[in-house]
Point group: C2
C-alpha cells in the first residue's frame, strides 16, 4: 500500500498547508501519483488547489466516517494529484470521533487500510492542534514531516511534539517515524533565522532536512489564485526549494 505522510505541527501558521500542497504537486512532477487528504476544517489545502469547498463530491469528512467509497476522491487540475477536500463538517469531527468508543483513535487508519488506492503516496494536511483528529492522523501514518517556521516561538513546541510522537509510537504500537523537520519561511538576512538553523542542527542533527524553504511573497500569493508554486512561478526560489524538498523526500523514503 502507498506510504502515508502526515504534515504535522500544533504550532499554527508554520507552513503545513503550503508544504502539503507544494510537496504533493511537486511529487507528481517527479512522475508519482499522490492523494492529498485535507483534514483541517479551515480547508486551506482545498482552496490552495483551487477546489470548491462546497462541492457535492466526497469530502474528507465523508471518507473518515465511511460515507464515501475510498476512490470517490476529486481529481485536481494537476495530472496525478487527487484530493479529498475539506468542508465545515470537519469542525464536528473531533466530537464525532470521541463518541465512537474503543476504536476512536484508529478510525482513519481503518478507513485507509480498507481503501485500495492507485497512488504512490498519501499526504495528509493536519490542523494546528494535538486533539483526537491529529491523533487519528498520527496513528494512521507511516511518516511525519514537521514544518518548523524559522522563528523563536515555533521552536518552543517542537520538543512537546517530538515527545508526543514517541508516546504514540509506544502506546499505540504503530510504526511511525519522523521523516524530517523542514525549516520554512527562512530569511537568511536575519540573525534570528541563522541562529535558529544552527540550534536546530545542533539539537536534532540529521532529523533536520537539508532543504530550507525561503520566505518569498510568491509563496504567500499563490493560494489566492488557487495555484501551487509550480504553476504560479515555476522557476522562482519557492518552486526550486519545493523541488529540492521533493528530491530529498524521495531519498529519505527510499532510505527508510
Amino acid at each position: 500500500r502507498p506510504p502515508r505522510i502526515a504534515i504535522i505541527n500544533q504550532k499554527g501558521g508554520v507552513g503545513k498547508t503550503t508544504t502539503a500542497v507544494n510537496l504533493a504537486h511537486g511529487l507528481t512532477i517527479q512522475g508519482k501519483r499522490v492523494l492529498l487528504l485535507d483534514l483541517d476544517a479551515q480547508g486551506n489545502a482545498t482552496t490552495a488547489l483551487g477546489i470548491e469547498k462546497y462541492t457535492t463530491n466526497a469530502s474528507t469528512h465523508d471518507f473518515l466516517f465511511a460515507n464515501a467509497d475510498a476512490t470517490a476522491f476529486t481529481k485536481s487540475r494537476y495530472e496525478g494529484l487527487d484530493v479529498y477536500p475539506a468542508n465545515v463538517a470537519l469542525i464536528r469531527a473531533e466530537l464525532e470521533l470521541l463518541k465512537l468508543g474503543d476504536d476512536r483513535d484508529r478510525q482513519l487508519k481503518q478507513r485507509l487500510d480498507k481503501a485500495n488506492l492507485p497512488h504512490d503516496f498519501v499526504i495528509i494536511d493536519a490542523p494546528p492542534s494535538l486533539g483526537i483528529l491529529t491523533l487519528n492522523i498520527l496513528i494512521a501514518c507511516d511518516y511525519v514531516l514537521v514544518p518548523v517556521q524559522c522563528e523563536y516561538l515555533a521552536l518552543e513546541g517542537l520538543t512537546m511534539l517530538i515527545e508526543t510522537i514517541d508516546e504514540i509510537r509506544n502506546t499505540h504500537e504503530v510504526d511511525l517515524s519522523i521523516l524530517g523537520c523542514l525549516l520554512t519561511m527562512v530569511d537568511l538576512r536575519t540573525n534570528l533565522s541563522q541562529q535558529i538553523i544552527k540550534d536546530m542542527r545542533t539539537h536534532l542533527g540529521e532529523l533536520v532536512m537539508k532543504t530550507l524553504i525561503p520566505r518569498t511573497v510568491r509563496l504567500s500569493e499563490c493560494p489566492s489564485h488557487g495555484k501551487t508554486i509550480f504553476e504560479y512561478e515555476r522557476w522562482g526560489p519557492g518552486a526550486r526549494a519545493y523541488e529540492a524538498l521533493c528530491k530529498e523526500f524521495l531519498e529519505r523514503i527510499e532510505a527508510a
Copy 2:
C-alpha cells in the same frame, strides 16, 4: 467586574500571542491593571513574558479546574501585569472539559464569575482551534479581538469564525461582541497586503481596527528574550503600533 477580552482566531500563526502579550503590557503603561490568562498548551504567552512554564505557581489549568484560588496568579516583571501561566497539563483540558457533563461549556465562565479580581481587564490568549476550550473562552468573555494576518489564507477562515461567534451568542445567551479585527504582519510594500486591507474594510467596515501592526523583525525577536516589544524596542514601529492599538482598544471599550 473587569471586562474580559478573548484574543481568538482558529487560523494558526496570525499573531494572537504577540497581540495578547503586547496589548496586556501596553495597557499597564496606560495605567491599567491587567490579568493575562494563557490558555494555549503551547504556553507561548508565558514564555514571551519570560515566565517559567514549569513553576510551581498556579497555572491556567489549576485555575480552570478549581485547584487554585482565583488570586494565585503570578506577578510578571512588568508593574500591573499579572499572569496565569500555561503548562502541558492544558493538553488534557479538552478531554477533561468534555467529561464535565452539562456545564462543560461554562466552566471558565463560572470560575471567572466567582473570582474577585483587582484588575481593570482580563485578556485571554487562545489556541488555534474551535474546540471545547475555545468555546469556554468565548462563553466567558465580553469581547473578542480577532488578529488577522495580512495574508490570503488567513482571510478564508474569518467568515467561519464570525459565524461561530454569532452562533455562540445566540445559543448560549451570552453578551459577546467583536471588539474588532486587527490586521497583523502588514507589509505595505506588497500588493497582497494592500489588497487584503481594502477587502477587509469593504466587507467588514468599522469592525476593522484602524491600527495596522507592521511586520517587523523586532516583534519576532522579542519573545526569544522573554520581553515585550515595549521593553525590547520602546520607540520602534512595533511598539508604536501596539501603543496605538492600546489607545484604540480603550476608545472602543468606552464606546461599547
